[in-house]
């Protein structure tokens, strides 16, 4: 599904310039766009596989076996990324000898050969190898029937090991055999190991990738260790395997479909405790003092990075550390970030251009991203260019002189008033009032980490004390989690005389190879005085209270948006000319324009873009760009360390070091 070039938008844009019939022409535009929209519907985002919920495992649940299996596996092997390394769930119909028959969803194995001698042995491997990130892996097999002679072998083998054999006989294969109870470790002669097993017994096989051993169980009793050669364990593909040799032999596998007979979780808990103990007791020795300084610097630089100016200053004072960056600079960055997070991207661009004149010139990609976002925010009705048009108050229109909020000191007095009303006079936890003087009442101050209460009245009482940190579900660490809550928060809370403004902050973004870590998303609510309406706060929008409308439902705003869209399109073409085609840009533009194809953009397949949380990554990119331009690190060292640790654990999984599964970074983040 290739996108038929953004040019389709052009006639539409032309059409909407007609002032008399914006609505009908808009419909026309939308029809045009809809044709090309299917691409977006089937974008990976909308098809993202989120089959695994993180709810705790409930054994009692018996409704959906598939669901139960997934839950159990997720619970047993939380460190495994199944998109990268899927877990075994059944026997493989492809990776087996012809004498093996499979049934019951490829879980039951039966022998269908002659079974004359050992040359008739046959094995089957599971669909997937055991991922190293399991740390400890376990599966069980129930002997349904021992058949003629009961020559069953349960164990492991690497990919490519001959399937015309029982597990254990060949190199890179291991097995416990029912007829003699011997354990075979890559050799045709077994070692006396355990009891024999037969019909009705449940045999388990556990691989411990931490200490390179495996052990078998019989009816829930561990039979003792078997060493596994280092070389075999580092084979990237060790599979659960069973082998049968005489007619009538039938076994059923349990890869987690049912609760295990052996208490594997108890075994895992021991190793988890061991590894956590190892980490906790890691010897620091003489370097205790050194570490403290490092930690203090990390915290301090983190606060500075995100512009928590007052907190950073207080912290620096208490710990007697130095702050690298100058106060004004921190505050400037903070102001810009707040603008982006509030959806006022236009103002943010201008503020950036003014404070860091060459920054965006040198970062055309960033500028483009910002502009795209600005377009989205226009649709949203939050960008100042459109929202000022939609507000009825004449004052607010006055305050829109074409370039909103250019001068920082513009309305200092006014803003100060608000701040005093909402905050404790010391403002210890936010930004000192003069810094955030903006004509659109972007006042108050970021209340560092103290704000989570979702009702306006509650926030007035808690916001002044920095200690009242109150994490609610919606603003915890995962940005995706907070989506449902925050999607409408900007719009819905302004129905009383109180004006509430919600903001979302990404506290930190680490761009590791695979994961973006958001350390926290804090929602900030600001209470303004009742008469603020008349001053014309940008977000205040009476019409919104009854339902969201495109560009706040204002015609002039819509026209402005269309015009802006055209400018954006031109910018893209210009960039293409200068730097060559950029698929990311194209996609971004496409997605942004697609919003117009729906009568209710908030509830459409690409509506996610309108979510305020989407501002976070952009905000942090802009912040990083500014910092880089000031010769400061792009990321705070704390996030770097965290990202490194996370990456390190993932690397451990890739090099098959099993302890990674019990040393996960999120076990230590609370």
């Amino acid at each position: 599904l290739s996108f038929p070039e953004a040019a389709t938008l052009k006639p539409a844009c032309c059409g909407t310039t007609l002032p008399r019939s914006p609505c009908s022409s808009l419909q026309f535009t939308l029809l045009l766009i809809r044709g090309c929209h299917t691409a977006a519907i089937f974008s990976p985002q909308s098809l993202s596989l989120s089959a695994y919920s993180s709810s705790p495992l409930t054994r009692a649940r018996s409704g959906n076996p598939e669901h139960e299996l997934n839950e159990r596996l997720k619970h047993l092997y939380p460190a495994v990324n199944e998109e990268e390394t899927p877990l075994p769930r059944s026997w493989s119909p492809k990776d087996k000898y012809s004498y093996i028959g499979l049934s019951q969803n490829n879980l039951r194995v039966h022998y269908k050969g002659h079974g004359k001698n050992h040359k008739d042995a046959a094995s089957v491997r599971a669909t997937h190898p055991i991922p190293a990130a399991c740390g400890i892996y376990y599966f069980e097999v129930k002997i349904v029937s021992k058949g003629r002679d009961g020559y069953m072998g349960i164990g492991l083998s690497a990919q490519g090991v001959n399937m015309n054999r029982l597990p254990g006989w060949d190199k890179h294969s291991y097995g416990y055999h029912g007829d003699d109870g011997h354990s075979f470790c890559s050799s045709g002669t077994g070692q006396p190991y355990g009891p024999t097993f037969t019909t009705g017994d449940v045999i388990g096989c556990c691989v411990n990738l931490i200490n390179n051993t495996c052990f078998y169980t019989k009816n829930g009793i561990s039979l003792g260790r078997v060493l596994i050669s280092f070389y075999t364990l580092y084979q990237p593909n060790l599979y659960p395997t069973v082998g049968l040799q005489t007619p009538g032999e039938i076994v059923d596998a349990n890869f987690g479909q049912q609760p295990f007979v052996f208490d594997i979780e108890d075994y895992m808990s021991e190793w988890r405790a061991k590894i956590h103990g190892m980490i906790a007791r890691f010897p620091i020795g003489e370097r205790l003092g050194e570490w403290q300084v490092v930690l203090q610097n990390m915290v301090s630089s983190y606060l500075v990075h995100h512009g928590y100016c007052a907190t950073a200053t207080a912290f620096a004072r208490a710990t007697e550390t130095l702050i690298q960056e100058d106060q004004t600079s921190i505050k400037n960055r903070q102001r810009i970030q707040k603008l982006v997070l509030a959806g006022r991207v236009g103002e943010a661009i201008e503020a950036t251009q003014q404070l860091y004149p060459t920054l965006l010139e040198h970062n055309p990609n960033l500028l483009f991203m910002l502009k795209c976002r600005q377009f989205v925010e226009m649709v949203n009705g939050t960008d100042s260019e459109v929202c000022c048009l939609s507000v009825r108050s004449p004052k607010s229109q006055d305050s829109y002189p074409g370039s909103p909020g250019l001068t920082p000191r513009h309305a200092a007095g006014n803003a100060h008033l608000h701040a005093a009303g909402a905050d404790s006079p010391t403002c210890s936890n936010g930004v000192t009032p003069p810094a955030k003087s903006k004509s659109h009442g972007f006042t108050g101050g970021v209340k560092y980490a103290s704000v989570s209460s979702s009702s306006a009245s509650a926030s007035s009482s808690t916001s002044s004390s920095p200690s009242s940190v109150n994490y609610s579900e919606s603003n915890s660490s995962d940005s995706t989690k907070s989506q449902p809550h925050s999607a409408n928060s900007t719009q819905e809370t302004s129905d009383s005389e109180m004006d509430v403004e919600a903001e979302h902050y990404t506290n930190g973004v680490v761009e590791g190879s695979s994961a973006r870590i958001m350390n926290g998303t804090y929602k900030h609510e600001e209470i303004l005085q009742p008469d603020d309406n008349s001053i014309g706060n940008g977000v205040t929008n009476d019409s919104c209270s009854n339902g969201r409308q495109l560009c706040g439902g204002n015609q002039a705003a819509t026209e402005r948006m269309i015009q802006f869209g055209r400018e954006l399109q031109m910018l893209n073409e210009q960039l293409c000319r200068e730097y060559g085609k950029n698929t990311t840009h194209k996609k971004m533009l496409q997605d942004a324009f697609s919003l117009l194809a729906y009568s209710d953009p908030w509830n459409c397949p690409v509506g996610q873009q309108l979510d305020p949380t989407q501002r976070e990554s952009l905000c942090s990119a802009l912040n990083s760009a500014i910092l880089v331009s000031q010769n400061l690190p792009k990321q705070p060292p704390l996030m770097l360390a965290l990202g490194q640790a996370t990456e390190c654990v993932q690397l451990m999984a890739r090099v098959r070091s099993g302890s990674c599964s019990f040393a996960r970074v999120d076990n230590f983040l609370h």
Binding site: I221, L223, A273
Partner: protein, 685 residues
Amino acid sequence: MACLLEAPLRISVLSEVTATSRHYVDRLFDPDPQKVLQGVIDMKNAVIGNNKQKANLIVLGAVPRLLYLLQQSSSSPELRTECAVVLGSLAMGTENNIKSLVDCHIIPALLQGLLCPDLIFIEACLRCLRTVFISPVTPVQLLYTDPTVIPHLMSLLSRSQRTQEYITQIFSHCCKTPEHQTVLFSHGAIQNIAPLLIYHSYKVRMQALKCFSVLAYENTQVSMTLVNVLVEGELLSQVFVRMMQRDQPIEMQLTAAKCLTYMCRAGAIRTDDSCVVLKALPCLVRMCSKEHLLEERVEGAETLAYLMEPDVELQRIASTTDHLVAMLADYFKYPSSVSAINDIKRLDHDLKHAHELRQAAFKLYASLGSNDEDIRKKITETENMMDRIVSGLSESSIKVRLAAVRCLHSLSRSVQQLRTSFHDHAVWKPLMKLLQNAPDEVLVMASSTLCNLLLEFSPSKEPILESGVIELLCGLTQSDSPALRVNGIWALMNMAFQADQKVKVEIVRSLGTEQLFRLLSDPDSNVLMKTLGLLRNLLSTRTHIDQIMSSHGKQIMQAVTLILEAEHSIEVKEQTLCILANIADGNAAKELIMTNDDMLQKIKHYMGHSNVKLQLAATFCISNLIWNEEDVQAVVNSDCAHKGSQERQDKLREMGFVDVLHKLTQASDPNLCDRAKTAMQQYLA
């Protein structure tokens, strides 16, 4: 004040410590109570961590004065508390300190102090009591002399976390006998302590758990109550299972496994319950592994041995769990040669625990191998196992010797082992040596083992006989201990089975008829049974029968008559009738019965007895009497013998035995029926 303190301190450094100590004691006698209090506080600071200072103060008589101050109701609460704290500190010192404190009657004084309403004072008293009671030198009984103490302690349990910790610790150390268990149980220990198992403080949970383990040990009443106790809606056994989770501290896992073990052994939990099979047993096996402390391994092995002692299924499961049999071999490797070179401290530690480790391993092997032949085979095949047992039998530590002989006994129940490894390693030698001079408990085990070694098929039988074992065993039959008497006579019985004439004569001579007949009237029925068994073995094959009967016939017949007339169990009577049947098999000996009409009447009576076994034995006896001997001794004396049998047949017919036999041929029991028919055929022959 500061100046006053300065001077003596300096002297102490220069000359001797007693001078300063004297000063501390003197201050306890100051008339100003404020100064006394300050003196006690200074004393407290001076004794902390200073064993020498503690000893000095005790020698100088500080304890009686402190106790006096503690008991005076006129003393301020602070002073009384500080006194208790100082006493507690003194108790923390050496064992001698504790002895001195106990001699000064500190325990009643502190127990009295618990009646005071002041919680801080109570806690100080309890802390001191705890320290005194957990010492091995303190007589536990002192806690139980005053019957009001235990209920009062129970009521104090709920006062604070400290009272909980100290009281449960006192209980767990002072519950040593069934009487103690009963006292604590009847004062509601279970209900009061159970909630503490889920208390947030680890120390309290741990001490509560220990209490339950000592309460449940070999106590059916307590154990039966425990299984039904609910803690916040959860069964106690499940609480214990949670405490055994592998991420819990080892001490807690081990003690929880002990609790379940004791409950299981007391019959409160079935041996096939999953909390035993899948939890307690694997947990205890785990405790035996190398990665744990030596103490934990000893305790784990001993508890496991106790758990599975009576249950063969548990023995089978344990023998396959985590290679336990091989794992135990490691218990014999202390002190290891590596530690001897590298680390003196480690060597000392190893040496201290080496005996304990060895005896624990022997115990566990004994328990594992007590029933299952395959497990015994596995044990004897473990590296150097037999050598280890042999050297264990002559170790200096009596505990190790006992455990080693127990292990040997357990393995000696295997026919195969007796024939092979036992003979190869000449285990009889150290065993005989052990029997020469050992305490009773060792003797019981050793003589039991000897019984098995003297079995007919045992290749060790001959060398043992030659080493003069008969005297030794005869000596055992005169022991006061019934167990030793049984083992002695049992061994003789085994020895006499199919033995040479020489051996039999030697047994009779050595034992003496007097002793033999004394044993026939032994109050212990086991002794009686085995003595009859010995007689029966002695009276086998015709020549031996005649020989013995010719010299002891009169006494034997007398004894048999007595037993048949007295009140005895069926088994005893059966055995006696079998002896009669053996006598009837002799040539000359037959006459002893035939001439005894009374005896014949008795036999006739038992032929009509309601018990088939007795009928069978009696019929067997008659059958021997009427037997036509022509096939055996025909060559020598056929005429005479035939004549003899004809006479006997006639006499017996006269006495009505033929009718009885005839009746018995209709018997429902096939054996009896057959036997009667064979006897009847003799008449026809």
